[in-house]
């Protein structure tokens, strides 16, 4: 029986034992993402706002998508996608885009999460891709169709591409700056929600070929609905961010080291 070099033995045994920990994705524990997905599914069953002209109601998951980016960072896209897919299987009535319905909440979490992680270039590209998917459709070249994505997508683009505004927003949320946190969370919710609803609008337009005669007259109504959603999301978002900090519970900002 040959005696091996002790040094070599240690390295060999180390090599066998060392494995890449897989309990986190993009800095967020998988357990937290699973909890978020479960919350998302439960929220899909709780109606928040009855909306005429839409399938059923706006459910609480819309609010969760808007705030997911600042809680989970870019991992919000994965958690939202998981929650979205399962909700789609459990409550298929709520997704008029069929099997692709989960993409809307994924994009909402992705854009807001990337922006909160200060990956503004990627967030900008994702937002521009969403807007591009709207404008590539020939229906979007008709009268007044350029106005449809304008209200909140314009705010999102300003936040993403203007450094002082972006930095102030992130700083205010990360430090929970009293007074300023409300407008900062409002802007973050605008980013998340606009990415979600523009993906939905774009998919609806590609699937059902709706013309400007539908989109333009109903625009004020949809702006009203989106405003209400963003305002509720802001109230929930501020309370959750403050609560997470006070209770020292895990969140994306822990992985930033700020």
């Amino acid at each position: 029986m040959s005696v091996k070099n002790p040094q070599f033995q240690t390295e060999e045994s180390n090599r066998a034992r060392v494995w890449k920990p897989k309990g986190r994705i993009l800095g967020i524990p998988i357990s937290l993402m699973a909890i978020w997905a479960a919350l998302y599914i439960v929220a899909s069953a709780v109606p928040a706002l009855p909306v005429p002209g839409m399938a059923g109601m706006i459910t609480l998951n819309t609010i969760m998508t808007a705030i997911s980016g600042m809680i989970l960072g870019p991992a919000a896209a994965i958690a939202n996608a998981a929650g979205g897919i399962v909700s789609m299987l459990l409550f298929p009535y709520g997704f008029s885009a069929g099997p692709l319905g989960f993409l809307t909440v994924t994009m909402g979490g992705l854009v807001a999460g990337l922006l909160f992680a200060n990956k503004w270039m990627l967030a900008g590209i994702a937002e521009l891709l969403i807007l591009g998917s709207w404008f590539v459709n020939p229906k979007a070249w008709d009268t007044g169709m350029w106005m449809v994505p304008l209200p909140y997508s314009a705010i999102a683009l300003l936040v993403i591409f203007i450094p002082p505004l972006r930095n102030w927003m992130r700083r205010s949320i990360l430090t929970l700056q009293k007074g300023w946190i409300w407008p900062a969370v409002f802007l973050m919710c605008c980013v998340g929600h606009s990415a979600e609803f523009m993906t939905t609008n774009s998919m609806t337009n590609w699937l059902f070929n709706l013309s400007w005669q539908y989109w333009v007259p109903t625009l004020p109504y949809w702006i009203g609905v989106d405003t209400v959603i963003i305002l509720i999301s802001t109230a929930v978002g501020v309370s959750v961010m403050v609560g997470l900090k006070k209770a020292r519970l895990p969140q994306f900002s822990d992985s930033l080291g700020e």
Binding site: I30, A38, I41, P250
Partner: protein, 268 residues
């Protein structure tokens, strides 16, 4: 919430592998997008109805779906009927109203396209329950993993599913606690009160659940989540002859549909 249907348990569709059903539903969805001619989409709907009948699912569910999507289907139909740029005029309704883009006529193409779009919505909506009501969710998750969906992503979905009952009961508990404090009923009451109640429900629900996630994280780490080695599954899925038949039919339909579309058929 839609659950596994009991009558569907004796159907051939129930015995199919989750992967075959997923691929079949995806094929139907792609074909629904590919075609925009009412006859072609109607043919697709007939196929879906036939599968529905084979699955022994109650047709009452379809009526429920129709009720939910009635308003949006009506909007889609009216927009297309009045504003689709058709060429074959049927009835003259008025003089052209240029500022709303109405040429004054009801066109055959407009009516056809409107019906096709409503049928498309209907096909998409009716095909999804076919999968959910005939497949237990754990089987569906195994099917996703077998279809090479990353394991960690499938794990998030299965864990979320298993956490559902506890989060739902927590949600009910919070709602009752808020009701005791005078917050309005979440399912009725004035809009503003319900909006106020939303924050009162979501905030404690999120914070309480996040606290639980720490326990779950410790449990996962102590069981060496992500350790190398071959993973085994409690539920194993296998293709049968019926699965091969379904997959073959789906492929045939898809290839046939795309070929027809490339030949310029099936569109208005």
């Amino acid at each position: 919430m839609i659950n596994l249907n009991q009558t569907a348990k004796n159907s051939p569709l129930y015995r199919l592998d989750g992967r075959s059903k997923l691929i079949g539903i995806l094929a139907i969805f792609i074909l629904a997008i590919v075609f925009s001619h009412p006859f072609y989409v109607l043919a697709l709907l007939v196929i879906v109805m036939l599968v529905w009948w084979i699955a022994r699912l109650p047709f009452q569910i379809i009526v429920d779906i129709l009720k939910v999507f009635f308003v949006i289907a009506l909007i889609i139909l009216l927009v297309q009927v009045f504003f689709y740029p058709g060429k074959i005029n049927l009835v003259r309704l008025s003089d052209p109203i240029k500022f709303i883009g109405f040429n004054g006529y009801l066109t055959l193409d407009g009516i056809g396209f409107g019906i096709a779009m409503v049928l498309r919505l209907f096909v998409i909506m009716v095909s999804a329950p076919l999968l959910v009501m005939t497949t237990p969710l754990p089987d569906l998750m195994v099917a996703l993993v077998k279809l090479k969906v990353p394991y960690r992503f499938a794990f998030i979905m299965t864990t979320a599913l298993s956490l559902l009952p506890s989060i739902q009961s927590r949600s009910n508990l919070i709602q009752q606690a808020q009701l005791c404090r005078g917050v309005t009923d979440f399912d009725s009451g004035k809009l503003w009160d319900r909006l106020r109640g939303t924050a009162g429900l979501l905030v404690p629900l999120i914070l309480g659940s996040f606290r639980d996630s720490q326990t779950l994280d410790v449990a996962m780490s102590s069981r060496a989540f992500g350790a190398p080695g071959r993973r085994t599954f409690l539920i194993e899925s296998h293709f049968s002859l019926l699965d091969d038949l379904v997959l073959g039919l789906s492929a045939l339909l898809l290839i046939g549909g795309v070929t027809l579309r490339l030949l310029g058929l099936g569109i208005l």
